[in-house]
Every structure is written in C-alpha cells, then in structure tokens.
C-alpha cells in the first residue's frame, strides 16, 4: 500500500533523452496504466520506478520517501515481466516462494501465502511443476502469483500480456482486473495496447516521445483528449482527422471541410472556438459519431452525402469508408442501414462530439 510520486524524472542514454522530465502522482491502491507506442519511454519509466534503471535527473518517491538510490531489492515492489522471467530450475512453488525465502519468512507463513495466492489464481494443481511444463497463460499466472505472495507496496507490470494469443490476452486481462479488485495494491502497468489501458486502468497515462501527453480516467481521455496524439491513439478504429477551416458565419462559426461540406459549430462551443476563427485547423471525429442520418434527428447533427467505398460488416455494427476531399474517413453505422459499395449514402456527423485541433501545437481546442 503506497503512493508513488515522480518529480521531473529524466532518463538519458548518452545524449538521447528517453524520458523527459515527467511528473506523475500515483495514489494508494490506484491502478495506473502507462500507454504509448514503442519507444515512448513507458517501459523505461517503469524500470526506473522498479530501480532497474538509474535515474538521470529528478526524483522518485514512495510514500514520500525518495528512493532514487535504493536498490531494487529494498524497494519492496514486485514486477511481472513480459516473458514472465520464471526461474526455469525451480518448481512453481519455489518460484512463488523465492522472495519470501530470501527474506527468511517462517515456513508456515510461506506455505500459507503461496497456497492463498495459488487459490486466487487457480494454479493450486501446478505448484509442483517446472515452468517449462506450463502453457503461456499458466506461466503468466505464476508470474503474477510470485508478485502477489510478496504482498509488496507496489505491483509493476511490464507488458505482461504481449506474449499471449489474442483470446488468452482478453481472458488474462479480466483476470488481472479481478486480482486487483481482490488484492488492492498500488499498480503501475505498462502496455502499448490502448484497449488494455482503457479496460484496466483507474487512470491512463498516455506517453509519447518521452513525455506525458495526458493523464486521465479512461472515459475522460476518450471523450476529451488534450492533444491530437491522444485523440488518435485512444480508440479503435482511430479517430478521423480532416483538414478544415474555421469560418466566421454571422454570429456563429462554420467548419468548412471542403467546398461543398461545411457544418455550423454548435452554439455552446462558439465561444470556445472563436479565437481560432479564420485559421486552418484539423477536424477530428470518432467513427461512431459518423452514422447514417436518422429521421429522428437529434440536435447538432450535420448531414451530408457520402459515396461509400468499402463496407466492413462486424455483426453488431458495420464500418463504412468514404472520402471527404481526398481523405479517407471511417463511419460506424447500423448493420441494417443498407450500406452498399458504390452507393451514395446520407451520413450524419454528431457535432457535439467533434474536436478541433490546432495544427501548430497539436493541442485540442
């Protein structure tokens, strides 16, 4: 049970800055996910928290105590590695009890904790096996068991699901969430998979090029991304980005996407966007906010005609792809809306969910 605080933490390899002065406060019992593309510094950040990497600058504190120079073995953290890093010469029981044995816990206590963790993870039958006799999912459970028995201050996960097949990954994701609900421990989890980040996290930290782009609850990040990077990274299929111009139209504002398509900005946003009037911007909208035009049209819908180029039925919904002035756009429509390739379709953009992005700074206005 602990809070973890990062203050202006920097990591440099020679002259290359892998992590640039990041600040992060992780509350007690919180599940924080660091997410970003490869090379964004998320793993390095995790390894600095663990003590496996030196810190070039700044400080890391656990419960207010600075741990910059504390070796990993004294930080009381447990880590689950991408390739599990189980000791191949030890049985599952020995693997799980290793940390406790090193700390000279009494035998009965070790037995109790291992059995308890094995019960939580449903691996009681595997305790006598060697890692090579286990499947990927089972190894993953053992690696988690090894972390749980320690009852550490902080759990660290370094892309723990990347080596599993798609189905098992979904299953283990739920498992990790379930375990965290049972064993409430501060958790830092690193992944490049935004779905994992969204589903697991209390708070998501989106990183890019060694910096934190945005921190927030999953739904908040989804609906109110701070930057174009976050807007594009979170959500699948990704948000559509279209070049646009913001035009003055009487009292209101117009977003002009092409010569023929222009939308009126919803009245409640006019104030917010007014300073950017006349500028070239990027218009962002998620596929689910580009639907077929319905007759019971709600407020702030802008309808337009689109020539459908590709149709991807998913069962519960259908993805349609079309072009707006040369840019490919994805929309999500009802499977019964009757989308046909080559046909023109009346589409509606839900402008309550639109984003305007400043091209120079990449920030969402």
């Amino acid at each position: 049970m602990a809070q973890v605080t990062l203050r202006k933490v920097v990591k440099k390899y020679d002259e290359v800055e892998a992590v640039s002065a990041i600040d992060l406060d992780i509350a007690d019992k919180e599940f924080v996910v660091l997410v970003g593309p490869s090379g964004c510094g998320k793993s390095t950040t995790l390894r600095m928290i663990a003590g496996l990497e030196d810190i070039t600058g700044g400080e890391i504190a656990v419960d207010g105590e600075i741990v910059n120079d504390v070796p990993p073995k004294d930080r009381d953290m447990a880590m689950v590695f991408q390739n599990y890093a189980l000791y191949p010469h030890m049985t599952v029981y020995q693997n799980m009890s290793f940390g406790l044995r090193l700390k000279h816990f009494p035998k009965e206590e070790i037995e109790k904790r291992v059995q308890e963790a094995a019960r939580i993870l449903d691996i009681t039958d595997l305790l006598d096996r060697k890692p090579r006799q286990l499947s990927g999912g089972q190894r993953q459970r053992v690696a988690m068991g090894r972390a749980i028995v320690r009852n550490p201050k902080v759990f660290l996960f370094d892309e723990p699901l990347s080596n599993l097949d798609a189905k098992l990954r979904v299953q283990m994701r739920t498992e990790i969430k379930r375990v965290h609900q049972k064993v409430r421990t501060t958790t830092v989890y690193v992944t490049h998979d935004q779905v994992e980040a969204m589903t697991l996290a209390d708070r998501v930290v989106v990183m890019n090029r060694g910096r934190i782009e945005q921190i927030g609850a999953p739904n908040f990040l989804y609906h109110s991304p701070a930057t174009r990077f976050v807007a594009g990274f979170i959500g699948s299929p990704a948000m559509n980005f279209l070049p646009c111009r913001l035009e003055q139209a009487g009292d209101g504002l117009n977003v002009r996407l092409s010569d023929s398509i222009a939308f009126a900005v919803p009245a409640e946003r006019v104030q917010r966007y007014r300073p950017a009037a006349g500028k070239e911007l990027t218009f962002g909208i998620r596929p689910e906010h580009l639907t077929e035009a319905k007759t019971n049209g709600s407020k702030n819908l802008a309808t337009f005609d689109a020539g459908i180029e590709v149709v991807e039925p998913m069962g519960n919904e259908t993805m349609v792809f079309f072009s707006i002035s040369g840019t490919e756009v994805c929309g999500r429509i009802d499977p019964n809306a009757g989308a046909r390739v080559g046909a023109s379709m009346k589409m509606a953009a839900h402008l309550d969910h639109m984003h305007l992005i400043d091209n120079a700074s990449g920030r969402v206005l």
Binding site: G51, L52, K73, D74, A78, M79, Y87, K103, R132
Partner: protein, 311 residues
Amino acid sequence: MVDAAISDVRELSTPAKRTGMRRMLQRKSSIAFLMTLPLILLIGLLVLYPAFYAVHLATLNKSMQRFVGLSNFTFLFNRETFWMVVRQSCIFALTAVIFKALIGFVVAHFVHNVPANKQRRWRGILLIPWVIPPAMSTLAWLWLFDPSYSAFNWILVHLGLSPVAWTGDAYWARFSVILINVWFGAPFFLIMYLAALKSVPDQLYEAAQIDGANWWQRIWFVTLPMMRNIIAITVLFSTIVTFANFDIVQVLTAGGPIDKTHVFATWAFRLGIQGGDIPLGASVSLFMFPILAVCAIFILRDIRRRGNEAS
C-alpha cells in the same frame, strides 16, 4: 517399418528389375550405416584396437614373450611408487580442475561485464595460454622456474625473500606443475562459462533483484543452477584430460624429484618406453580407465536426470 513400406511401393512401381544388393542400398538404414562407416572404422582403428591391445600387452611379461596373467598388476600393487603415483594423479587432477573451474568462473564474470565492443579483445588475450602448445609454454615456465637465473627467484630475492627450488623441492614441484596446468586450462573454462553466462536471460537477474536477492544470492540461486549442466560437463571433460596429462609434467619435471610429481601417463612412459617394460607401462596406464569411468558415470547420470532445464 516406414522404410519397408516405401521400398514396397517402389518395387510395385518398377517391377522386379532390381537386384537384392540394390534394394538393400535403397533402404534408409543401410544408407545411414554406410555414411557412418568411416567414423566407425576410425573409432575401431584408433580407439578400440589400441584399448584392447593395451589390455593384451598388460598381460605379457617384460620381453612380451609370455602370458603372465595379472602378475603385472600384483607387482604394481606391491610397489610404493605406484600408490604414490595414484595419489599424486588424484591430487594433481582434483586441485587443478577445481582451480581451473574457479578461476574460469570468476574471470568469465569479469569478461561478461566488459562492454561488448571491448569483450572480443579480452577474450582473445585470455585465450592465449590455451592456444599455445603446452609443451612449448611449459618450456617458458621452465625458464621462469630455473633456480639460479629465473625471473621468479630474482623477484623473490629482490623482495628480500629466499629463493625457491621450484622444481627441485617435491612440494614446490607439485605446486609448479599444478600451477602451469591451471594456467593452461583455465581459459577453456572461461570460454565455456562465458558462453553459459550469456545464455542466462537478463530478466532472470532483474526478477531476482526485485525478489530481494543480493549479488551473492543471484549467483547462488540463478547463475549456478542455470549453469549446472555446463559446469558438470566441463568438469568431467577437464578431469579426464587433466588426469591423463603428460606434456606439462614431462617437460617441467619429468616426474622428479625422485618420482614425486609423476602422474599415470608420465610414469607409464617412464616404465614402458624409457624403462623398456612395455607391459608394465600398459598396466599403469590402464588404471586411469576405472577411475575416470566411475567419475563419468556419476556426472553424466546427474546431467541426464535433470535434462535440459532452459525452457
């Protein structure tokens, strides 16, 4: 079974033209046998024949005219020098192997921690003792050990110590031959252990670090278990080679002073070739076999039982 089935099918497709010889050559097992035949012949010629010939020789009298049964062996058992040679061979092999393994292990760790771009250079330098033919390098050592003009004694005298009779005193002579053997053999362990160290995934050490293991515990609980098989094999291999060592002892001391540094091979040479009693020499050298066989059985059984644990 499969082979037979395949040849049956062939027979059907190309009716009874082939001779029996041809058909036999077509079978996979025959081809395999033919391809291994050169090796089988080589082993027969260079290993099995000499081994059995040595057993045969050991049962003859000095002039190799008469069969004398086991009397060569009973003669040896009653000679004090023989037991001294047994003892010296064991001390020589055990001490040398232990120190070679220890030094190899420690130095392998140092080299492992050298940055990758400089590692090749160090590996090359450290391999030199192993690359020089030991008969030649021992000559160099012989000069270093020379009682009156040697570098070692010169240094000792300048440090105010009394010079040492490196090859003249029985204990120092034993120390010297072991020292040279360790110097010659340690690089082999170094290279094997370095390769083994590189095959241990870094994440295991990181996991152990996070589990709370200090440096020593990481060696004990991660490195050593992961290297156990390679340690067992190198120790077995080196024990065999060291036990049968000839050149270093022969060049440095030739068994002296007063037979105190003789090992099986040099004593067998002294009795058989230089002393002209080939059957007796053969009997001496045969003694290495049971000792090494027992050693090999234990080590190999241990390796087999554990299997390959690197998953």
